[in-house]
C-alpha cells in the first residue's frame, strides 16, 4: 500500500489544493538533498495523497539543481534564484508559493526526522493552533556529538534572542515549523530578514499578531556540517536588532496594510 501511494505521488500530478506543502530550502546540498527527498516522499505518501514538495534553492553553485531536476516528480517544484541571498530568502520564496492547507518547512539534512511531523500536525489540524514549531530543548531526544563550542554557540544565540526579542519560546531556530496557510501567507509577506535570523522575525511577528503557537518537542540529530559559521554569526548579530527596528519604523505595518490577517497586531512593543 505504501509503495503504491509513493509510486502514485511520484508519477501523477495531484488535483486541487494540496492538504500539505513541504518547503525545503537548499544551498549547495547536492549530497544531502536526495536522501531527504526520498525519506519525506515515502513517509508523507503513506498517509496523504494530496501533497506537494517545494525545493527553494538559494543560488547553489554545485549540482543541487541537477540532482532535483532529474527526479522529474510532477508534484515537486524547484524554485531557483540567480544569486545566494540567504536561507530566509529561500524559505520565504517557498512559503509564499506553497498552496497547501498546512505548510511545513524543514531542513535539507532531515536533521529533524520527517516522522516528527506527526507530533506537529494534530496541533494545527485538531487543536486550533496557527503555528506548531519543533523544539529541541523540551526533551532530551537530541543526538549530538557537537563540540562544546558549538553547543555554547546555540545557547548564547538563544540567550541573545531572549534578551532582545522577549519571545516566550525556548527554541526559536529549530528548522521544523508548521503553519496554517493563512498564517504563513500573512507572516512571510511581512518578512524582511533574509539570513538565518529570519526564524526570529517570523516568531516575533507571530507573537505580535497574536497567533497561537504550539512548541512541540521533537527528535533531532546534529548533522555536523553546520552552515552557521563566523560570517553567519556576524550577520545574525547585525540582523537581530533590525527586527525590532523594522517594527518601530512601521515597515511591518506598511506591509500589513495589504493583508487581511487572522491575528490582530499588538500595538505596543514590549
Amino acid at each position: 500500500m505504501a509503495a503504491t501511494n509513493y509510486e502514485l505521488w511520484k508519477t501523477k500530478i495531484i488535483t486541487g489544493e494540496p492538504e500539505l506543502s513541504i518547503v525545503i530550502p537548499t544551498y549547495n546540498e547536492e549530497q544531502r538533498i536526495l536522501p531527504t527527498i526520498g525519506a519525506i516522499s515515502w513517509f508523507i505518501s503513506k498517509t496523504r495523497a494530496n501533497w506537494e514538495l517545494i525545493i527553494a534553492d538559494d543560488g547553489s553553485t554545485d549540482k543541487t539543481l541537477e540532482a532535483v531536476k532529474q527526479l522529474e516528480f510532477p508534484n515537486l517544484s524547484l524554485l531557483t534564484t540567480q544569486r545566494h541571498v540567504g536561507k530566509g530568502a529561500a524559505v520565504q520564496q517557498g512559503m509564499l508559493v506553497a498552496r497547501g492547507r498546512y505548510i511545513l518547512y524543514c531542513d535539507a539534512d532531515n536533521s529533524t526526522p520527517i516522522e516528527e511531523i506527526t507530533r506537529l500536525l494534530p496541533k494545527v489540524e485538531q487543536e486550533g493552533y496557527d503555528i506548531a514549531i519543533g523544539s529541541r530543548d523540551l526533551r532530551s531526544r537530541a543526538r549530538t556529538k557537537s563540540p562544546l563550542l558549538r553547543h555554547w554557540s546555540r545557547h548564547w544565540r538563544a540567550w541573545v534572542v531572549k534578551q532582545l526579542l522577549h519571545l516566550p519560546i525556548q527554541d526559536t531556530q529549530c528548522g521544523f515549523k508548521l503553519f496554517t496557510q493563512q498564517a504563513a501567507q500573512n507572516l512571510f509577506q511581512m518578512q524582511t530578514i533574509k539570513s538565518f535570523a529570519f526564524d526570529m522575525e517570523i516568531l516575533y511577528l507571530a507573537t505580535r499578531w497574536q497567533y497561537n503557537i504550539a512548541e512541540v518537542p521533537v527528535g533531532w540529530v546534529d548533522a555536523f556540517e553546520s552552515r552557521f559559521g563566523t560570517q553567519e554569526v556576524h550577520r545574525f548579530l547585525f540582523d537581530l536588532p533590525r527586527i525590532r527596528q523594522n517594527h518601530r519604523q512601521d515597515v511591518f505595518a506598511v506591509a500589513a496594510e495589504s493583508l487581511v490577517p487572522r491575528g490582530m497586531p499588538l500595538h505596543n512593543a514590549r
Binding site: 549530497q31 544531502r32 536522501p35 527527498i37 525519506a39 513517509f43 532531515n110 540529530v221
Partner: protein, 131 residues
C-alpha cells in the same frame, strides 16, 4: 570476528537511523571486517529506517575498498523507504542488494575463493533505536 580467513563472510547488522552521527563508528567497524585478501562483507539493513549521504558515502567507500581487493561489500534486507533512497541516488545500480541475509550469503558462493564449508561470522553493531 577473530576468525579471519579469505573464505569467511562477515555480517554487519545496523539498526535505527544510519546518518552522519553514526557514520564514523560504522566506518571503523567496516574497516575491522575488511581484513584479508578478499573481504566479503554483508551489511544487513533490515532495521535501518533512514540513511543519509554521509552513511551512503561510508558504504560506497567500503564497497570500493573490498572490490579493489577482489572482495565485495553487499547489502541486504533494505526497508522500502531506504530502498527508495538508493533508487533516487541510483546507488541501487552500484551495490549488489539482496532481499535477505541468506540470499546475500549465497551470492558469495559464486565468488572463486569462497569455501563452502565456512560459516559466516556475524559482526553486530547496534545503537539506540529511535522510538
Amino acid at each position: 570476528m577473530t576468525n579471519q580467513s579469505n573464505s569467511t563472510v562477515r555480517i554487519l547488522q545496523l539498526n535505527g537511523r544510519f546518518d552522519a552521527f553514526e557514520a564514523a563508528d560504522v566506518a571503523a567497524q567496516l574497516d575491522e571486517l575488511m581484513i584479508g585478501e578478499s573481504p566479503r562483507v554483508i551489511v544487513n539493513m533490515a532495521n535501518v529506517v533512514f540513511i543519509d549521504s554521509a552513511a551512503l558515502a561510508t558504504l560506497i567507500k567500503a564497497m570500493k575498498r573490498a572490490r579493489q581487493r577482489n572482495g565485495d561489500c553487499r547489502l541486504c534486507a533494505l526497508q522500502p523507504q531506504v530502498q527508495v533512497i538508493f533508487e533516487l541516488t541510483r546507488l541501487n545500480q552500484a551495490f549488489e542488494i539482496f532481499k535477505d541475509e541468506y540470499t546475500a550469503i549465497q551470492s558469495f558462493r559464486e565468488m572463486p575463493a569462497y569455501a563452502s564449508d565456512s560459516a559466516p561470522v556475524a559482526g553486530q553493531l547496534r545503537w539506540g533505536t529511535r522510538a
